[in-house]
Every structure is written in structure tokens, then in C-alpha cells.
Symmetry: C2
Subunit: 230 residues, 2 copies
Amino acid sequence: MSTVEFPPPIRPLGELPTIYGVIIYPGFQSLDVFGPLDALNSLSLHYPLQLAVIAETLDPVSTKPPAHLENPSSNFSQSIVPTHTFDTAPAVDVLVVPGGLGNRDPMNVGAAIAYIEKIYPTLQYLITVCTGSGLAAQAGVLDGRRATTNKRAWARTTQLRPQVRWVAHARWVIDGNIWTSSGVSAGIDVIFAFMGEVYGEEVATSISNFLEYERHMDSAWDPFSDLYNL
Amino acid sequence: MSTVEFPPPIRPLGELPTIYGVIIYPGFQSLDVFGPLDALNSLSLHYPLQLAVIAETLDPVSTKPPAHLENPSSNFSQSIVPTHTFDTAPAVDVLVVPGGLGNRDPMNVGAAIAYIEKIYPTLQYLITVCTGSGLAAQAGVLDGRRATTNKRAWARTTQLRPQVRWVAHARWVIDGNIWTSSGVSAGIDVIFAFMGEVYGEEVATSISNFLEYERHMDSAWDPFSDLYNL
């Protein structure tokens, strides 16, 4: 990478976030995590970035859905190794919260919700993907704020916290320092929008070209809210 | 998921591939793996699918790039747990091979290349993402075939095996039972194209809608080959 021209950020390095955290829990959606993280992995080749992969324990965490939602004839999942628990995680500047079928089981996400509630006041930014906004909502940090979520899981997720000003038609929504995005692949668009805002559009474009990804640049682009009649 | 209407496949279940394998090696690109796998995770909710995550050993495998390519001020990676080694993997119907900076170090991928060479004759399909086609090329299975790869890493990858009929302008290329795709995010488009071909377009559309992903449907769509002057 060192031989490639890379644009400078729009702010001094000292003003940029450096410590990222991502929450994982049993039954998380893998692309919710690895869409944003792959873009950040690439960014970390150019800027000094640290990542904490945070879970309830240090045991590997599987994408396997809860038993009542999985196909009993399938055995198709991936397991990720946490680097920290909710108790041992360092102070993070940016927290990424994924969705996934696993969060339909409250037992899977109680500790994650408590962690979000506890550390939100110290975050520079909170970014949620898909039904990850349901966890942030249950942590109370979205109350009175505009936010979005997965469009197919719309009714299920929004009823978790009516105090949130849920926005049905949006690829992503920014309110204060909280960036919420729509379902699964929307996490890729929101991380590039975030990168554009914080590091500069030239940086975001450089990374999206590196990933050969055609970004949706309009936060109001959302054919899926129409598809699901929202 | 059980309450959701899902289209039937275009072939009898008994004719569909059921055992998928994915190779991982140190310094693999995470989205190369988790783009395709997340779509397949979702498919496995509807059809009986098995996944083997295959590596040289059963130790967790990190996305951390080789030392000479990483940023020494960053510590930003994820580790995945293999389910099988190259020696213990079951017979797989479909093999997915990712790219990543790690494959620039021959020590990291020699065993993977040998494995591809060994099992290719028994595969129904081989799918590569990004510079994963460089591994398939070195295994000799692309000789005389049309194939594509990451566009920024074009020169470096294609010179690995001039016997391949490299196609510069393509999001993905199909030649026989081998599907090769362009850089990183192209893995999402190739898996949906593959799903459309094997399971039917209705199935592919249903899953891409579930992931709120807008597919590139044209295998010749490729602004990145222009961007990198190929």
C-alpha cells in the first residue's frame, strides 16, 4: 500500500477517531459487521486505527441464528473471535452495532444493550447497521432522535421503542453523533458516508474504489421501503 | 423466516449443491469472504446447506495483512475460526476462494493453492473473489480459460499465470464451472449471479432484497477497469 498515493484527511490526525469497537453477539448478521469493517480495515492501512471486537465473553461468536429461526437441515455459519468483553473493552471513539436474527432473542443481547447505554456518553460516534438500531433504541440513546433500521424487520424493530422518531424511507439517517442505517448492505453505504464526513470525500472515494464498490451517495435512496410497503 | 413466502428453486433439491467450502488464509480480505457468505447464510435459512471454513490449521485466521504491507501504527483486524483443515475438509460441491493482501506472501497460500489443485476435479463449481483468482490460476485450473480479478492488483495478479485468458473489463466472468469476479465487493454480485443461475433468479432476488442489496446484473459492468486504465 505504501507505494499508492492516498489523499490526506480533511482534519488533523489528532482530531480523528482512532479506536473503533464493534459489538458481536450470537446470531449477528455477518455482512452487517464485515461491510463496515472491511472498509475500515482498508482505512487502517493509511491511518493509525485500533479495533476492539467486543462480546459478552471471549469465546468465538457464531452467526448461527437462534434455533427457532434456523433451518434444522442446514449447518452454515461463521465464528468470530472477540478481542474484549463488555467489561474489558477499552474506551472506544466509534462503536459499530450490527443487526441479525440473533437479536430477536433478548437473552443474546441484554449485555450488549447495557453496554451501549453505559458507554454512549463517552463515544464520539455511534453507527448502527440493520436491526442494530433496535439495540441502540432499547439502550435509550435514540429517544427523540431520527433513526432508521432494516425495512423488512420494520414493524418488529420500531415497536421496540416508540420514543424514537423512526424514518421509514432512508438508506441511512444522521442525528447528532448517531448514524443509523437500513438493512444489511446499507452498512457499506453508511460507513463510506461516515468516512466522507469525518476523513473527507476524497478518502472515502479512494477506499470505495479500492473495494470496487459503487456507493449509494444519497441517504434518501431506499427502494426497499417501497418494496416492503412502508 | 418460516412465515415468509420464499420462491422454490428452478431445479429439484437433489440436483442442487449442498456443501459449500470457503478457504481462508492469513491476510484474507474480509468482505471477499463475508459478501458471498452472508448471501449464502441467508439462503441456508431456506435450503439445506452445509459450510466448511477451511484453512491450513484449526487456529483462528486473521485478516491482518503481512507485516510489510500493514500500517505499523494500526491494530485493526478480525479473526475467523476454521471448521476444517485442508486435510480434514469434507468433499465440497462449491468452493469459494477470497483474495487479500495476504496472498502476496507465497508462504501464506501455498497450501491453499495445492488444495485447489487437488479438489478442483471433484467440485461442481469454483467461485473466486478479487485476487482469489490468482490462487486458482496458480493451481493451474484457469489455464486456457477466461477469468477476471481485482482491477487495482491487475498487473501483479495476471502475471502470476499468463496461460489464463484474463478479461480486464468484467464484474465477473463465467467459464465452464468457474466463476471469477473482480475486486472485493464484486463477490456480492457474483454470488447473486451464481444463485440466479443455479437456484433461479426469483431466489436470488428474494435474498438480495433481504440484504437490501442493489445488484449489478450486467457481468460487463466495470467502471474500475477504466479507473485503473486497463
